[in-house]
Amino acid sequence: MKYIRNSKGETLVEVIVSLVLFAVLLASVTVMVQTSLNIAERAHERNEETSQSVADIETGQSLTDVDNLTFTFSIHGEIDKEYEIPVVVKQSGGLKVYATE
């Protein structure tokens, strides 16, 4: 009889431990899924932004000047010549293009 009572106690403890483990696991998986959803949403937004930037660049709209650079083109050998061409960097979203002024 003693043995049977002890066993009943163990089962209760096991159930409690199981519930705790399950709760911890559920919390972990919830965090994982939530994080994944956030990552997926950011990826989706990035794709949308890239597509919008490509459309802006192709149409030449909504481009912002962000930098002034010098494009150097040098030819070596018998034609020993270097060209320095000022260019303006334009940006739409995260994409940059540059062109002569």
Binding site: S7, E14, V29, N47, T72, V87, V97, A99
Partner: protein, 237 residues
Amino acid sequence: MSKTMKYIRNNSGASIIFVVIISVVFLLAGASVVTAASMLSSTSIKNHTNKQVYYYAKSAAEVVSKEIVGDEGFGYEIINYIGLIGATHNNEENNTEELVDVPAEIVLDCNINLLKNSTPYDDVEYDNVQIKLSGIQLIKFQSYQHKSGRMYDVLERYDLEIEKVAISFTTRHNGEEYKLALEYTFSAKGERKAECERRIDSVSSITDLNLSPLHSKHIDWREFDRIFVRVHQNEVH
């Protein structure tokens, strides 16, 4: 009694085993979701990087293309290199037509750099820049006209054809690289008149009166895109 004990023993640990099984299933599902999200994220980043390296390549191609047809740009240097500019005849021959001896192919190594306040702009790099000219033909026509005393005029007309001007380079950005080749046909027709003065055995005071601008075939960017795709497969032509 022993049957009861067995029964109880069988029950003990069952809930934990069940939870462990559920845990493994949930963890696998969670890991799959995280992996899928990470792949989605890396794909979107790679897509963005690919687009950026494409636009850096296209920007460089556009700048070089404009530079080719500039008044004293690269095209002018090609003609200078071939020997046309400053090569006014002084042999007083009239109405001559000459097929000038030029190399059939010229390969030139080049560099492209982007500088910001004289320091390299580290967002993009260009290398393996090469220009290859092939199928070059230059015909010169000359007529001579005596004016008075030692003075005479030389009228030159030239007809230059370069079957193919191929510019190839590699663009690098954030670990991605893009090989790009542009091909142009190139032609220049024009004339110039030089006023010359003959001294004992030389010609001096040559003054170029007219040097027509160069003409280049306009780039069709649809063609550019086609080349771009081909080059992406590492088939640079």
